[in-house]
Amino acid sequence: MQKNITLAHGNGGQENNELIEKIFYKYFKNDILEKSEDSALLNIESSQITFSTDSFTVSPLFFPGGDIGKLSICGTCNDLAMMGAKPKYLTCSFMIEEGMSLRELEKIVRSMKKELEINEAKIVSGDTKVVPKGSVDKLFINTSGIGEVLYSGISAHNLVEDMAIVVSRDIGAHGAVIFASREGISLDSNLTTDSASLYPQVKALFDANLEIKALRDATRGGVAAVLNEWAKASNICIEIEEEAVPVRHEVKGICELLGFEALNLANEGTFVLALPKEQAEQALEVLKKSNPNAQIIGKVTNQYPQKVILNSSWGTKRFLDMPSGELLPRIC
């Protein structure tokens, strides 16, 4: 087999089959995929399913703690899990730029397999396109997935006064890693992305019989975006105690340097949940088994409906706005 992807790998013929056999089937193999029909035939037991899709474009493809493959499985599986579902079946499409190294592609597919195992989910259908150089940035991946609902009733519209807001770990690691490893900024740090499959943690919460009212993974737009979406959807105010928000020093440092706010940075394995305040400590106990930095960061009030407020330890408050536009570093 050649060392790099050529346009021939997307031709539907021999090279294409070789790519599918030697890379995709090798790692994604399962009874449904192997039937190789025009579409996958699925047996669903649950009466309610969730269905989600996401496309992944990230530069660089490999970064400390993860790669685009890991993101592409975690991303879709996490979206399913956030609606109370067990991720079951996924499809994936690869859009590959001519010239991409096959070894890199295999490495990416291998990390997809690892994440599929954590979620106990299967790739049941796939597609590959190879496009001329310059048409995509090395590799774009789309995954779609179906999950079976284990816990129903989760919604951004459910928040009412006196609920507690909890984060599952320290925030902003993924966004900070991506900025630090971008070309043109040489920053050394021990920081790794938070990219992770969240289904195991979410299942532990459901198993503990907690009344989870809202649940969302804080991807693009960060925790600030989730909180603002909830405040608007439920017409309530969310008050956050700034000091309680867990942020690692490395992330804080990168934010200070570039003029960002950790609450706006993307995460790939961090979620926010809202539940009755009496159950907050118990939820924290469950979450801390996965990450000791899980924290209660605030509560739902009626002070400024549809707004998110940050309270400082010196008694001042300010709005935490929805992040907007391209994140650009400040000048001086």
Binding site: E243, K252, E256, W314, S324, L328, P329, I331
Partner: protein
């Protein structure tokens, strides 16, 4: 003790210390029978003040006026039009810093030029421009240089390296501005179009990263000639609160002096090497237009004539317009910058003029006064 990253900010954001300064300021301000309007000249200070909610901690008679110290905000449309036109030249890469690419000129922003196919890049450090020039020998690279004294030495070093390395494809469009001249303008306007004799400024928080380069000495004239005390302050909330307490104390004790709060990095003389390299390549520009303020004498730099072979403004003079472009009629940024109005008093604040569709200078960068008000809200 080993210095950790967190030492650089943690203690400077300590709630107890901030509250203690608030108490001192309140007690001192109580002894005054007047209001003190303090202008924080620098956008970095505006950002700190709004982000950490400091006005909520101050007594009624201590107020902030948000100054013009944001290099992106003050860039007039004429200069952005230059950048836009240069970016759209064939085989050209236009390089600039951070959020400059968002600012609209009369033709559009650099972001829009990029969408039209122009190669516009932003860099974190001006030194990266050299790398871009080396990697693209068949392209013309134009560095649209912006910033106050803080960023000027870096541009000077890039120019020096361009000459040493013999790079033939790198040019400079210089928009560096200087702080003392615009402070002078704000209290002592010489432009017939602008009446700043009613300015409300009683004292200044001095921009300090500017002083890391130029020294605190550049503010000596303000207490001496203009009777306005200056405290050069750091950028963390504890720094700003301490600096305000120092200013209020001066009023209580009837002093009018230049003081430095940010002693951990600012000296009276500044960085002499940086000053030398600036002087080597740059000279004063007679007049520079500041968005929202108009023409300010001697407030900017240009390349010296002997380096005109690097000067994009001269090389491309045939295609760069020189006509004046008016600021938007409804925009009151000029008044905000002179302390005569606050952002929410503007009729288009938060409606037609928002961070993603800025009309006036104070909304364009996250460090502008309007953007800070919009983002953090004015809760008290």
């Amino acid at each position: 003790m080993e210095l950790e990253l967190k030492n650089l900010y943690d203690d400077f954001r300590d709630g107890k210390t901030i509250k203690a300064y608030a108490k001192i300021i309140e007690q001192d301000a109580d002894k005054l029978d007047r209001t003190i309007n303090i202008m924080e000249v620098c956008g970095g200070h505006t950002h700190t003040i709004m982000k950490f909610g400091l006005p909520q901690l101050l007594p009624e008679n201590i107020k902030f006026i948000h100054g013009p110290g944001c290099p992106v905000c003050i860039m007039p449309k004429e200069r952005i039009d230059h950048a836009y036109i240069l970016a759209l030249q064939p085989d050209t890469i236009l390089v600039t810093l951070g959020d400059m690419i968002k600012v609209p000129g009369s033709k559009g922003s650099l972001q829009q030029a990029r969408a039209k196919g122009a190669d516009v890049r932003f860099v974190y450090s001006p030194m990266e421009v050299l790398k871009i020039a080396k990697e693209n020998p068949d392209k013309k690279i134009i560095f649209f240089a912006i910033g106050f004294e803080t960023t000027t030495p870096m541009t000077a070093v890039v120019i020096e390296q361009t000459i040493i390395l013999g790079l033939k494809n790198l040019y400079f469009h210089i928009n560096h501005v200087t702080v003392p001249e615009v402070m002078r303008e704000l209290i002592d306007s010489r432009d017939i179009h602008i009446d700043s004799y009613n300015n409300q400024i009683d004292a200044f928080l001095g921009p300090s990263h500017v002083s890391v380069i130029s020294g605190a000495k550049i503010y000596k004239e303000f207490p001496a000639t203009y009777n306005r005390p200056v405290v050069v302050a750091g950028f963390e909330p504890v720094d700003v609160m301490e600096a305000i307490s120092m200013l209020v104390k001066q009023f209580v004790e009837n002093r009018c002096e230049l003081e430095v709060q940010y002693k951990r990095v600012v000296t009276m003389e500044g960085n002499l090497n940086a000053q030398n390299v600036i002087d080597k390549y740059f000279e004063k520009r007679e007049l520079f237009k500041w968005r929202g303020l108009g023409n300010v004498p001697d407030s900017a730099l240009k390349l010296k004539a002997e380096y005109s072979f690097l000067d994009a403004e001269l090389i491309y003079r045939d295609i760069l317009p020189i006509e004046e472009v008016e600021d938007h009629k409804l925009c009151i940024c000029g008044d905000i910058l002179r302390g005569m109005a606050k952002p929410p008093e503007c009729t288009i604040f938060g409606t037609a003029c928002k961070p993603n569709t800025p009309i006036g200078s104070c909304m364009v960068s996250s460090e502008g006064a309007c953007a800070a008000y919009y983002k953090y809200g004015n809760l008290l």
